[in-house]
């Protein structure tokens, strides 16, 4: 075994161990990020604040309101006495949806005419509005069927016709957390590993210790790999933390093989750690390293398909997203964790990661010059 490599690794472990604050951050960040992002990064809609202006005040209008309430999508918790009041509630953001039942609603139904009910949605957040839109329509549709059924006095399901029976695979309850938490593994690993490794070499420069190091027979790759090893260990600990919390706290199923998950995570870590080291060889101060880290991390997260589907991006951005290692890792993670797939279906992103990882590590080794500037 290479004794210089071991010496560097041992030294790096001592640095980490003797800096309790950073150590605490390393082990707490995944927990905090997972809990915060896992809880907040969701587009599931439950109990959307909804205002109602019921100008009809009949049993029929109350039945309609009850139908919406029972759906769980809408919490009818604001009652207005005119339309203007509803508008104000929407303006203030107190409610995200509003329903106006006009006077004469029950009469029209009784006469067999079409009764119109207005449904207003706050479209500022398209994701929320989109779901609410669909929910509002389907609840209305169901109520309509119920009314027709009552009128005809027959069971409409016996009339024949088409019935679409959608079945949702992988995430039958359509829980956002099932989709988000596997992706969070990739996001958190990237965030942490780039952040910490970006500091390592630049710290030697800032402390001046690089001057003593460059006059030793240490080779660039030994220094880089030796410094990465402890962080690979920490990253795997973080991975375990996230998986355990994901299962215990968010009930995320892990359907695929843990071995495959670990192996692909290792490939992904090579790219992020390599990127961190690369930043470290470019930056002149720890502060600069930190800034570059954020500059790379943020667009990377958006282009990776973490928040927004890549398919929805303009072609130029879709193309750019191929350069983001996190993109491949998200496909792999969602594949293994949610779909329980083996290596074959995710082979191409795995190969892409392997190529990225080796290129970045080689690039960082070449960039690191064993001389002072």
């Amino acid at each position: 075994m290479n004794s210089r490599l071991i010496a560097i690794t041992r030294k790096e472990i001592i640095h980490i161990w003797r800096d309790p604050r950073t150590l605490a951050v390393m082990f707490l960040i995944p927990i905090v990020q997972l809990v915060l992002l896992g809880l907040s990064a969701t587009s599931d809609i439950r109990h959307l604040n909804t205002g109602v202006y019921d100008a009809d005040h009949t049993a029929a209008s109350r039945a309609l309101m009850e139908a919406y309430r029972a759906s769980d999508y809408f919490a009818l918790n604001h009652f207005a006495s005119n339309e203007q009041e509803l508008g104000e509630l929407l303006d203030r953001g107190d409610i995200r949806a509003a329903m106006i039942i006009p006077a004469g609603y029950a009469d029209k139904l009784a006469r067999g005419e079409t009764a119109q009910v207005a449904f207003l949605l706050d479209g500022s957040d398209p994701a929320v509005a989109g779901t609410a839109y669909a929910a509002a329509q389907s609840v209305g549709q169901a109520q309509r069927t119920r009314i027709i059924q009552q009128k005809l006095g027959v069971d409409v399901t016996r009339l024949g016709g088409i019935e679409i029976r959608p079945r949702v695979w992988y995430n039958p309850e359509l829980k956002s957390s099932n989709y988000m938490i596997p992706a969070l593994i990739g996001l958190i690993l990237q965030f942490l590993t780039i952040l910490f490794t970006a500091q390592t070499i630049v710290r030697e420069r800032e402390q001046g210790t690089i001057e003593q190091l460059v006059v030793t027979p240490i080779r660039s790759w030994e220094l880089i790999v030796g410094k990465l090893i402890p962080y690979i260990g920490i990253a795997f600990f973080n991975l375990a933390e996230i998986l355990v919390l994901g299962v215990l706290l968010f009930g995320v199923p892990i359907r695929g093989s843990l071995g495959l998950l670990a192996a692909t995570s290792f490939l992904f870590l090579l790219t992020t750690l390599g990127l961190g080291i690369f930043i470290s060889t470019v930056a002149r101060s720890q502060q600069e390293a930190m800034l570059i880290t954020f500059m790379i991390n943020l667009p990377g997260i958006f282009l990776s398909g973490f928040f927004f589907p890549i398919e929805a991006m303009p072609p130029a951005l879709q193309f750019l997203s191929y350069l983001i290692p996190l993109r491949y890792m998200l496909i792999i993670l969602r594949g293994i964790v949610l779909k329980g797939v083996g290596l074959e279906p995710i082979l191409s992103p795995v190969v892409a990661l392997a190529i990225f990882g080796s290129l970045i590590l080689i690039g960082a080794s070449l960039r690191f010059r064993k001389t002072l500037e």
């Binding site: 004794s3 030294k11 003797r18 001046g208 003593q212 460059v214 027979p217 001389t371």
Partner: protein
């Protein structure tokens, strides 16, 4: 042992070292002297392989510091001016780390550490973090650490700057021990009393080498005469004779006035001037030139030439 041929090192705008050549023989203590910005640190960094020269060739033990950098690193111990050990590692951890990197055999390790810590009087501080050592102790630790791979060439960049006199003396005792072991030493220093301990001294100024000889030869070749006198009005005495011809440098140190003149025959004129101006100076007599005089004159001469060239 060390050979510099036309070494030039430039950074973006500045020429740090400008066409410097000298040789250092095996077993020498070679001093690099000069004001801040003279190019001493850059010269040492190039010899240490930490920096590549822009032009010129530098060899250590016949091997080129660029092409054969990796093989000669084993022969060189370099102690940077700034403390460059790990602050969060203990004394012994730092020594062991660099020994590991140099691949020093672990069998002799413990004995060597004991010996070096003993010489450096750091024995009681084995497990202290380097950041908690005093400045002087840090310097001694840095020296001990650079000796862990038993180099044949030792490069010390201002090793005693900012160190108290007692620690300075202890440090030089250590350096003397290393010298007696046959190690070739190049040391840069702003202290001229330290320069006197060197077998040879090179004076650098603005990247150029302006003198290079044994201290006693440099003094002998001064070509000027140095006098000292005592006066309660040393300042007035200095001002009184400022315009007299043949005076190369006049300086005061408390109540001592020190005059460098081109000829001993200038004395009567000086004393006459003081007499007419009513300035009392006692015991004006010739003294042995110091290295400082040599360098003050050399630098003043250069500056005069520089101004003349500009005008």
């Amino acid at each position: 042992m060390i050979s510099l041929a036309h070494l030039t090192k430039t950074f973006a705008e500045t020429i740090a070292v400008n066409d410097v050549s000298f040789d250092v023989g095996a077993g020498e203590i070679f001093g690099l002297i000069g004001p801040d910005g003279a190019g001493k640190t850059t010269t040492l960094r190039v010899i240490s392989t930490a920096m590549a020269p822009t032009h010129g060739r530098v060899t250590v033990d016949g091997r080129d510091v660029v092409r054969e950098a990796e093989t000669i690193k084993q022969e060189i111990g370099y102690m940077p001016q700034r403390f460059a050990l790990y602050p969060d590692l203990t004394v012994v951890e730092n020594m062991n780390f660099f020994a590991d990197i140099f691949g020093s055999p672990p069998s002799e390790r413990a004995a060597l550490i004991d010996k070096l810590l003993g010489f450096a009087r750091l024995e009681p501080f084995r497990t202290r973090y380097a950041k908690n050592l005093s400045g002087g102790m840090q310097k001694k630790l840095a020296l001990a650490t650079t000796l862990m791979h038993q180099p044949r060439v030792l490069l010390l960049d201002e090793p005693t700057t900012g160190v108290d006199p007692v620690s300075r003396r202890e440090f030089w005792d250590l350096v003397t021990n290393v010298h007696l072991d046959g190690v070739t030493i190049v040391v840069s220093t702003p202290y001229l009393d330290e320069a006197e301990r060197c077998t040879r001294v090179a004076l650098m100024h603005r990247g150029k080498l302006i003198a290079n000889d044994a201290p006693n030869h440099l003094r002998a070749q001064l070509g000027a005469f140095v006098f000292e006198g005592h006066s309660a009005q040393a300042r007035a005495a200095e001002q009184a004779i400022q315009t007299l011809p043949g005076l190369l440098n006049v300086n005061t140190y408390g109540d001592v006035i020190r005059i460098i003149a081109d000829d001993a025959a200038r004395i009567p004129a000086i004393e006459k001037e003081w007499h007419t101006r009513n300035v009392a100076v006692q015991h004006l007599q010739p003294v042995a030139p110091r290295l400082e005089d040599v360098f003050v004159l050399a630098i003043e001469k250069l500056q005069a030439e520089h101004h003349a060239a500009q005008a």
